[in-house]
């Protein structure tokens, strides 16, 4: 890369610090000692990608291997992209500044369906052939992982390898296999065939999909003797699993600029809309001693002023008070905040809470998800109105005057009465405040209710359900606005058109590959950003290619339909998901895992079973 030209470009773009690398704890290796180069890509801007824990873990795990150099790549903002295209500067990795097409592997972590076009655009900018079938012997292997990889079919045309489940052991095994294959002089195809036999790896080109006349899938047929189903990988023992001693510490401000310490994986709750609640099962906890040691190392090496304890539901960590006691012994003197996202404050020791600054500081957020008890039972969100109100009261008496409530709209079986319930519950929180004799004086209350459109996801009990159309959602939004009468309630929602596109790709199949290819050609990118999202353009593409988007998201699927992801095994069985779907329609709840095992099947993945 011409340094002078590169600097001239950087002087003309916003936030050039996104493109320079060189951060503390970033890893530079001598190319002479390296035989495998891995470009770890996050298909969004630097500030978002650098906040992502999974990328930090895998970056560290791969770089811990001799001979493997993992580097970071982010999507350039459009001002930088324009300059790069104008000056023929290919997309490069931050550490070596080498172009993407020089790497052995290009890995993308797929967090969100609306980042699919960024994957294509980044490959294009990096000088990499978009279609996997056109890549030659010297071309990189494109590999994806993350939550969207569980149904990777819309991306199947563009990826060589899909990593299913937790990657810190699996990716290292893949590196070893690659090194062996290279030494043995295997061809690209021969290597991929071997990958298909490696646990946790799905190689789409070895699976043929055939369709029925009604467009549903006839069969997914394994070719060349590859396994008929592919099971996700998990880490058995989180205490001994790789965890970074240090994070790459960005110079520029990123979204979550703090130490993040994982405390457990999986979730006991079984909320029926939540994909994370199923795909990350079974629950596995780290011990307080390991967490404490790892968190301390991250803070020492990064100089952070805040450490966040990360999991899907912090309150469900069984030894939380013991852990906090251990951590406070050093965070207090070093003036480091502990932040506890997704904490249920009602059953938490008050004395401990008062020692945790950030809990006091940040306002209270609560996710009832649905407005009525009936609908909360349908989605198995086991929170009662009384709990919401009691928690709000606790928060108000502690001096808080702002409460955030999260809801979803368009949930299965939802009626207008349930929609009104969102307004009623919000109102009850407002009333709770004014009924308190000891409420904070001289202040009004603000209840911010945020409503997102429900998107049915694969590997949930609602994977067979139709998604509300844009028109239905808009109608419900209108009704909700009319039901809210208090000015103490502020309503906000996600764009229904965005939810619609997300829903199409979430349960899409391979035939959507040509839609993505066309979208990239027509300039779609950063679809999760309001300033770039162009719904009309997307609908025009579907129409021009004669693909009906409603087939993918607005249709009820039968239990016996072959789903595009039927050959993927996440541990949780389809039989369990069907049972949960039936119970949802009956309005019956399922107790959480520690109350009673519901027999989801995930315990088969772990030698010692569930925790």
């Amino acid at each position: 890369m011409d340094k002078l030209q590169w600097e001239a470009i950087l002087n003309q773009v916003q936030k050039p610090g996104r493109y320079t690398g060189g951060e503390m704890n970033s890893i530079i290796k001598d190319k002479r000692d390296v035989d495998i180069r891995f470009a770890f890509c996050f298909p969004d801007v630097y500030e978002i990608g650098m906040s992502h824990l999974g990328m930090k873990i895998l970056y560290s795990a791969l770089n811990a291997m001799d001979g493997v150099w993992c580097e970071r790549v982010f999507a350039p903002w459009d001002d930088m992209e324009a300059k790069m295209r104008e000056h023929h500067l290919p997309l490069y990795a931050l550490e070596s500044k080498d172009a993407l097409h020089h790497f052995d592997f290009i890995g993308f972590t797929m967090q969100y369906e609306l980042s699919y076009t960024n994957v294509l655009n980044m490959l294009d900018l990096g000088g990499v052939e978009l279609l996997a079938q056109n890549r030659g012997e010297d071309d990189p292997f494109v590999i994806i992982g993350g939550p969207c990889a569980y149904n990777s079919e819309p991306l199947a045309d563009f990826v060589d390898i899909v990593s299913l489940g937790e990657g810190e052991e699996a990716l290292c095994e893949l590196m070893v296999l690659y090194r062996e294959s290279k030494q043995q002089g295997l061809t690209r195809k021969q290597f991929l065939r071997r990958v298909a036999d490696l646990d946790g790896f799905y190689v789409p080109c070895f699976y043929e999909v055939t369709y029925k006349a009604d467009n549903t899938i006839q069969a997914v047929t394994p070719l060349d003797g590859v396994p008929a189903t592919i099971r996700k990988r998990i880490i058995d023992d989180l205490d001994t699993a790789h965890y970074p001693e240090a994070f790459v510490t960005p110079y520029i401000e990123v979204v979550h600029d703090r130490a993040v310490q994982e405390i457990f994986r999986g979730c006991i709750r079984g909320c029926r809309f939540c994909q994370a609640g199923y795909v990350y099962r079974p629950v596995r906890e780290k011990s307080p001693e390991v967490i404490n040691k790892q968190a301390r190392s991250l803070c020492d090496m990064g100089g952070y002023e805040e450490v966040s304890l990360s999991s899907l539901s912090t309150s469900d960590y069984r030894q939380l008070p013991q852990l906090l006691e251990q951590m406070l012994s050093w965070t207090e003197p070093e003036k480091i905040n502990i932040s506890l996202p997704s904490l249920r404050v009602d059953n938490f020791p008050r004395e401990l809470m008062e020692r945790i600054q950030s809990v006091r500081k940040s306002g209270l957020t609560f996710a009832p998800e649905a407005g009525t008890q009936r609908l909360r039972d349908v989605i198995n969100k086991n929170i009662t109105e009384e709990e919401v109100l009691r928690t709000a009261e606790t928060a108000f008496s502690g001096g808080n005057t702002g409460v955030k409530l999260y809801f979803m709209m368009g949930l299965p079986t939802e009626t207008m009465e349930d929609v009104e319930g969102i307004a009623h519950l919000s109102q009850k929180v407002v009333d709770t405040f004014y009924h308190m004799p000891n409420r904070p004086k001289g202040k009004g209350v603000t209840v911010s209710s945020s409503v997102s459109g429900f998107v049915p996801k694969p590997f949930t009990p609602f994977q067979w359900e139709p998604q509300d159309t844009v028109e239905q959602l808009k109608e419900k939004q209108k009704h909700l606005v009319q039901t809210v009468t208090s000015r103490k309630i502020s309503l906000s929602w996600h764009d229904a058109q965005v939810s619609n596109l997300e829903g199409i790709f979430a349960r899409g199949d391979r035939r959507l590959g040509k839609v993505l290819l066309e979208a990239q050609k027509r300039g779609c990118k950063f679809d999760s950003w309001g300033e770039f999202f162009n719904y009309e353009k997307w609908m025009a593409i579907f129409s021009d290619l004669e693909i009906d988007p409603a087939f993918y998201n607005a249709r009820k699927r039968e239990f016996d339909e072959v789903l595009p992801w039927s050959h993927i095994d996440i541990g949780v069985t389809a039989e369990f998901l069907k049972r949960e779907n039936v119970k949802a329609h009956e309005g019956k709840t399922t107790p959480h895992c520690r109350e009673q095992c519901a027999g989801c099947g995930a315990n088969r993945l772990c030698e010692k079973g569930c925790e």
């Binding site: 610090g17 060189g22 100089g303």
Partner: protein, 218 residues
């Protein structure tokens, strides 16, 4: 609470010139935390290590004379402080020296800059002629959002226009500090406008900072 003031001098160069002043502040607080030095924290609801910079540097400019002040809760030798900071500062922001502050930041009056126009040596005479004018009027945006006109010719001191291989290199002093401050990018913009556009823009480096008597700020 008692504290000891320390002034650390460091460079800011290479890719780190793309780190904004605000980001540099956060970085410095973290570097100080990582150093293990007995830092004095600000008091109040959200305590953080106290840091203050003498003269902010614009995004994209390099420097060989940046300084930051911080405070320790107990006395230490300057040598020990420097070695602690050496371990946590990156190469492109390496520590030059550590000393007790002598002057207050508001004593700063001038800064010396080196401005390199890569592969533009052939414009030496044109640029020298331009800078030799008796008046160079430029419009400057004021903090309040308005515009004012300044005469760069009157503000410029100790100007030299030299050639280094294919590059054109200017050396000059401009008023700097809290009362009057002229950003060298103003001059670069005017040269690009009036003399011509250089092929690779300009690389600006702050070389030294002076007080009103022309002595080095210390």
């Amino acid at each position: 609470m008692d504290f000891i003031d320390v002034r650390m001098w460091f460079v800011k160069q290479g890719d780190l010139k793309y780190i904004s002043h605000l980001d540099l502040q956060r970085f410095m607080q973290r570097a100080l935390k990582r150093s293990g030095l007995p830092l004095w924290h600000t008091e109040g609801f959200n305590p953080h290590p106290y840091v203050t910079f003498a003269l902010p540097l614009s995004l994209g400019q390099e420097s060989r004379c940046e300084s930051v002040d911080f405070r320790l809760t107990k006395p230490m030798s300057m040598h020990a402080i420097k070695s602690a900071m050496d371990k946590v500062m990156p190469q492109d922001m390496r520590v030059l020296s550590v000393a007790p502050p002598v002057q207050k930041a508001k004593m700063i009056a001038f800064a010396e800059y080196s401005i390199c126009f890569p592969k533009w040596a052939w414009q030496q005479n044109a640029v020298a002629d331009f800078l030799g004018q008796s008046e160079i009027l430029v419009t400057k945006r004021t903090k309040k959002g308005g515009e004012s006109t300044v005469d760069l010719a009157a503000a410029l001191q100790e100007v030299s226009v030299a050639v280094r291989e294919e590059d054109l290199v200017l050396s000059l002093r401009l008023p700097a500090g809290s009362s009057v401050n002229l950003n060298p990018s103003l001059l670069v913009g005017t040269i690009h406008e009036k003399v011509g556009q250089s092929p690779y823009g300009a690389q600006i480096t702050r070389m030294a900072v002076f007080d009103i008597n022309g002595e080095l700020f210390s």
